[in-house]
């Protein structure tokens, strides 16, 4: 269970988060939607400690993340970055097995490679991809490798940052289905950031809309279409007219 209470964050004069309150139940898939630049990525980065909030408290299973042992805390997480964030200097299998080759989860090299290949298969990639470098892969393949890396150590909590950005509709569908299958199969708690309403409808158990630095609306996926919130309705239907200014 992830709980954010009154999270504030500004960068210089730009107040990005103005008191975000959010609750993500264990083993549920929370999708955060919202316009560009509304602080969705900053929100998940505050949970991981990549961005330090100015104010507010974040708890994971009742433990204050600011006081947690960093290595043990991060060992519970997996993350798929927007651009994949694969390490250019390492072959694909070492990217996937990165966590398994270092630190507390270190395994023998052969075992780490076997697990990496198994995870690559899980995301629909063949073994021959394992020894290639990220730069040799297409955008869709890089996303899948990123997904394989995120699940390699079987984390309890997984974050997905814009998992379908830059992909064609078919590849987006493949990634959405993979994420949903993996989430159900692993029973992980997940937070996904996306603009893509197809992703929302495929991945989400719950949806939260971030607008103007606060959670504008949150509820179950099946409540989203009938919710009486003008901001949410404008966003999910992609209307230029409404309370959200089109030019930001």
């Amino acid at each position: 269970m992830i709980t954010l209470n009154g999270i504030h964050k500004s960068f210089g004069n730009n107040q990005v988060l103005r008191g975000v309150d959010l609750h993500v139940p264990t083993s549920e898939s929370m999708v955060i939607i919202g316009g560009s630049g509304t602080g969705k990525s900053v929100t998940i980065k505050t949970v991981l400690g990549l961005v330090e909030p100015d104010r507010g408290k974040i708890e994971v299973d009742g433990q204050n993340v600011a006081k947690a042992d960093r290595d043990a805390f991060l060992a519970r997480f997996g993350m798929l970055f927007q651009g994949g964030a694969l390490f250019d200097s390492l072959p694909v299998w070492q990217n996937v097995a990165f966590r398994l080759m270092r630190g507390a989860l270190k395994k023998p090299k052969d075992e780490a490679r076997t697990i990496a290949i198994e995870k690559l298969r899980r995301v629909g990639l063949k073994e021959d991809v394992a020894d290639r470098f990220p730069a040799e892969l297409s955008g869709g393949m890089q996303k899948r490798v990123g997904l394989a890396r995120a699940i390699a150590a079987e984390p309890e909590i997984i974050f997905f940052d814009e998992p379908t950005t830059g992909l064609d509709p078919i590849m987006s569908g493949v990634i959405n289905d993979l994420i949903r299958e993996i989430v159900v199969e692993m029973g992980a708690t997940t937070m996904t950031i996306t603009h893509d309403m197809t992703s929302v409808r495929t991945i989400a158990d719950r949806v939260a809309m971030l607008h103007d630095g606060v959670i504008q609306w949150t509820g179950r996926l099946d409540e989203m279409d009938t919710a009486n919130d003008l901001y949410l309705q404008q966003f999910i239907h992609g209307r230029a007219e409404g309370p959200i200014e089109a030019v930001r």
Partner: protein, 261 residues
Amino acid sequence: MTGVLAFLASIGRVILGLLASVGRVTLFALETISHILRPPFYWREFGQALVQIGWLSLPVVGLTALFTGGALALQIYAGGARFSAEAVVPSIVAIGMVRELGPVLGGLMVAARVASSIAAEIGTMKVTEQIDALVTLSTHPMKYLTVPRVLAATLAVPVLVAVGDSIGIFGGYLVGVTRLEFNAAAYLKNTVDFLEFWDVGSGLVKGAVFGFLIALMGCYFGMQSGRGAQGVGRATKSAVVAASVLILASNYVLTEVFFAA
């Protein structure tokens, strides 16, 4: 009056900015040293850095030293001829190379090649979120990226300087024997007789300091890189400029420390 105050305020802002930068670099250097002393240590990354910084810089350092040694022999011969002191060419070439030109020119060439490449690589990793990815994979970026590079450069540059010194002296020897009609055996004897251990040792210590500064600047500016191609470009340029200036400044300080009367 207002104009004077505005002028003084702008000078003050520049000085404060400079002091803040010095403070940030100093803290970065101290943090790097503290991580060098604490496990874990990434040997594979260290080995790769050693090859990248040391082995692959050999051609550029060697060529620089060869031509510098040759030109130095010609200059000293021409200058020495004015007061009939042509015979000092071998000893001055050797002392000049091992004390000053070997470490400084070698350091500057490595700075151009290595500080830029480190800053560009780490800067690109930053803008593509690879450094954030490292953190989420429970790997400290300072330990994984900075420590292996700084340690490798600190160890590799003195070796490069030693090789550069030898090649530079050889360049002087080639010019001395082929162009200036020195006797080969006498040239070598003069070179060896006048060189003292500390002439070579001081150059190697300089090399270690320069190596530390080169990698530190590459890593620091890479980690501070702004967004996009422009941010990475600016980080790369700043790393090379800062490393070069620090090499020249620290060279003066070290020369004062080692050889001041």
